[in-house]
Symmetry: C2
Subunit: 593 residues, 2 copies
């Protein structure tokens, strides 16, 4: 039940791996140094552990419910959300101009991680609001910004993203909702949207829906999609709330997990048309969505890391508490199961993946900060390219690993893990959505193959490999046993990644189906190698600082070596699958299944 934010590991990754001091040195971030970071993270940890985390189990047992068009959220959620807004937590990363706190993404990210670890279901509401804010800041008119952004950043109102329709899941080209222009410049929006997270709820006084729809005469496919803002309650020029708009919640879904988070079916325009305002220009909706999506996908990756860490913490506690069987080396009676080699292996597997993906995600966050704030354009451009390469990895790899790690969390609990009262199963159920929403793993994989590797002929990927080779030199120079074990595994991983990149670049145009059949394995391979690289860098720091905090740095060193020997060793096999297996997949005619 208890969750403690891993502040020490978070600060380690921020300072030693993601370069917090460099981020603090960026123009505009001078006020956000280590002290500020620590202060805000400590407050966030207190709020998440004290207010949000205790609601997580109850929210699963007694989830959000639907009656007569209204949603009642799980017990305590409304009150916790009120505290969340009072603390200013919605605004951490958003511009001071609209009442936010303007923190770098590198500092906001651990705060977001904690909130998700405390409760994925709760944190989804602010996450979707972040998306709406981002969309309006990117593309909204000054008028829309003035009326809506401040209230969203304060958390007084919440936001949603309305993409999916029954016939249009991953395929946004199939969106059929329509928007009719009105004489006053507004639109009337019609259509059915499904899977709308917090599409209806009772935690805030208004909900601002961002809705993809087509205007009359729009081109077919994704080039004819526009983005509209549709408030649940109309908003006057003075910001006062008015009448109910023509958007209704028809039902909410009965899901495998994240049950406290209401997933709504929304009906727009059954009473003559929902009043909407175009965001940016007509027919450019998809473009705006893609800008927001980098942020949203990164956030879902953080959900994966968060829930895996929470499951890890729970499993460690259970493994300490549960006595069962003698020690393999001999003991008088049963010992805590954490002494048994396979339990240790499972816990180290969870720990290594959490630390590796956290480090990579924080490195990505720092790249995003530099992409937006660096003084010179080249630095901004290079960092943007790295960030865009890493987003599908953080989203795809960290969420896939979260399903496996929460499953290990169940396994550590044995039979008790299968009983719902224990709580381990909830993390497993909750995590299972993460590889699906905000673009399935295949969508992330297609993104990293197509837009992020083929388009630049592997330039960013190869540049990352070149940096890994530098780390290999550092490991080699140390020459000690741990560094040599890491060097061996990291080099093997880097060479595998280079092989895969070469194969993709060489064959992506001529044999697209063969190459894309290996896309998910490529995404996993890159995740395995880049997280392994961070663990290698962590090992070097740990050796340097060993004496300053032996417990922390010895654990880091061992975890890094475990990652090398038990995770990086998967890289060569993944590369073989990518380079050899695609054509075989392709050969299988669909009638043969």
């Amino acid at each position: 039940m208890n969750y403690q934010a891993p502040l020490q590991d978070m600060l380690f990754a921020m300072q030693e791996l993601a370069g917090l001091s460099s981020v603090s040195a960026l123009p505009g971030f001078e006020d956000y140094d280590l002290d500020t970071a620590q202060a805000v993270m400590q407050e966030s940890a207190k709020f998440c552990a004290g207010v949000v985390a205790p609601l997580n189990v109850g929210g699963d047992k007694d989830p959000s419910s639907f009656k007569d068009g209204a949603v009642t959220t799980a017990p305590g959620f409304k009150e916790a959300y009120a505290q969340f807004t009072q603390g200013g937590w919605q605004g951490v990363i958003h511009p001071t101009e609209f009442g936010g706190q303007g923190f770098p993404k590198l500092i906001a990210t651990p705060c977001i991680e904690m909130l998700h670890a405390a409760s994925l279901s709760f944190a989804l509401c602010p996450m979707l609001t972040d998306g709406a804010i981002e969309a309006l800041l990117v593309a909204g008119s000054d008028e829309l910004k003035r009326k809506f952004v401040g209230k969203l950043i304060s958390g007084q109102w919440t936001g949603t993203m309305n993409l999916t329709e029954p016939q249009a899941g991953s395929d946004l080209a199939a969106v059929r909702s329509t928007a009719q222009p009105q004489a006053d410049g507004s639109y009337k929006v019609f259509g059915t949207k499904i899977f709308i997270t917090y599409g209806e709820h009772d935690m805030a006084e208004n909900i601002i829906h961002l809705v993809l729809a087509r205007v009359p005469g729009a081109p077919e496919g994704v080039k004819g999609i526009s983005l509209f803002l549709v408030p649940k309650l109309m908003v006057g020029d003075d910001g006062a709330l008015g009448a109910r708009n023509d958007v209704a919640c028809v039902s909410i879904e009965h899901k495998l997990g994240i049950k406290a988070s209401p997933t709504a079916v929304l009906q727009f325009g059954d009473q003559g048309g929902a009043v909407g305002y175009v965001v940016g220009q007509e027919n450019r909706g998809l473009e705006y969505m893609f800008i927001m999506m980098n942020a949203a996908r990164f956030a879902v990756g953080m959900q994966g890391i968060a829930v895996a860490d929470r499951a890890y913490q729970k499993a460690v506690r259970f493994a300490h508490d549960r006595a069962q069987s003698r020690d393999l080396a001999g003991s008088d009676g049963p010992v805590s199961i954490i002494n048994h080699p396979d339990v240790k292996r499972m816990l180290l597997t969870m720990r290594a993946h959490v630390e590796g993906t956290r480090a990579l995600a924080y490195v990505a966050a720092a790249a995003s900060d530099a992409a937006h704030h660096a003084a010179d354009e080249l630095t901004r451009k290079n960092n943007q390219a790295v960030y865009e390469y890493l987003v599908p990895v953080v989203k795809g790899f960290a969420t896939e690993m979260s399903v496996e790690m929460t499953s290990l969390g169940v396994q550590v609990h044995g039979g008790m893990g299968y009983i719902e009262e224990t709580g381990a199963a909830q993390h497993f159920r909750d995590a299972r959505i993460l590889t699906i929403y905000e673009g399935t793993t295949a969508i992330q994989a297609n993104d990293i193959v197509g837009r992020k590797t083929l388009r630049d002929k592997g330039a960013v990927a190869k540049a990352l490999c070149a940096q890994i080779a530098l780390t290999e030199q550092d490991l080699s120079a140390r020459g000690n046993d741990d560094c040599m074990a890491m060097l061996n595994a990291l080099k093997q991983g880097r060479l595998a990644m280079e092989d895969a990149v070469e194969f993709i670049v060489a064959n992506g145009k001529s044999q697209p189906k063969t190459v894309y059949a290996g896309a998910v394995n490529y995404l996993k391979l890159v995740g395995v190698v880049l997280c392994g690289w961070q663990m290698a860098r962590a090992m070097l720091v740990a050796q340097d600082k060993l004496e300053s905090d032996p417990a922390f740095f010895v654990a880091k060193l061992i975890t890094a070596r475990f990652y090398a020997e038990s995770v990086l060793t998967q890289a060569t096999g993944l590369a073989q699958s990518i380079c050899l297996g695609g054509n075989t997949t392709n050969r299988m005619a669909i009638e043969l299944f």
Copy 2:
């Protein structure tokens, strides 16, 4: 919702890989030839698809419930169970002497697979009855056999296995239940047992509990455990049911899955002692349990294959039906998602694992038949050794893969997979117990490392590797592209397995913790390689018979090659983890987690 037993693939594995004709040639099995096998499997398929499979979703939504000490099973279960007993299905594998049908395990196994695929929750009841029958046949007195075995084989009564107590899960040494001998030769049994599958229900008129307990003065630990038969209702000498025995169901568990299967807490002896009869001799209970356990563990492995196949069938149907996005090679509009490379990859991954584990399990079943029925002792002994080596692989590997494959089944469904109404999530939840009960994966892994590899210095493992090398020669002699791809992967896998065996044999005594930290990876490695071996043998047959049924054999050929390129390629990395990683796991002091 629909399930069709994969009769053609089952018969393929039985005939071409497991040697059905050799099994039929064994003394006592002369009447059980291909025709008999086909006839019983067709009937079983009809019953499973028509009667049991339709109950699976309802059993999850409206599970077994508990009130005032009684359990009401899910809607339709009682009626289906009556049909099950009327069809004589409980007796398929059991001796004709007690009213069974005496089929070889090789023919009974596909029938059991179908029943589990139709409904894991339903099939658990007969599975536990099988265990009770086996225990009584192995160790029960003639008196106990006469009174109980016939009624269990007819299915009129059902059986349970009572091992677990709150403080004794995997650790049976900690069992505290007691049994006091009475003047009439019976015992009074006292204690609390948890996690008792079908420990109470309304489908049969009596329940025969097999209970582990200690007699006064018994040695400590596992050498002081005895096995008792405790009927729910007393049974007269004439077989008539009498008064209620002193065993009560206190509650049933609220579980992640297999919800229709009631998991009971049973209280023995609160009213003065439950009447029990010792099975075999005092203090030899664990030994009897181990004999039964091979059968029970094998059956749980079949559950994994079954639920993975059911999830596969569902995913294939969805992937054909769901249209989304254009074809990568160009199309006018959205195509069925089965055309998309990653969906194909997911489906092939599921298919390859199901076919590979099925083949290995059937090979193991045939070994069990030869172990019991071969004319000469050496053949029996060798087959018994192979069977005992394979049981933890079938149990451990097929169940671990079932969790991954049912997860892929959810993924193929995208967002719909996360909605409970779709049904994909149920398979995922149901499968999650399989790596836990009847011995967790770690228990299976410790078994294959300790009893099955270290004890004979790797003799059985090496003999299997030598057989694989013969298959490599066959592949090499063919020389065609598919065979060479398979050869390359199989050889890599076999060498990896040999490396691991050598490492384990060399270090098992001197560094047990280091070796056992790699136990689960060794189990996975052996599973990957031995299933790959079966797929290699299948490829050779498929090439020979290609023209007799092009659709089936082309699919088999492609699936085998996919297994080579996408699954066997994991072997080297697993061997590296086993040989390199154990010491690192060992270094991590428990306080550092």
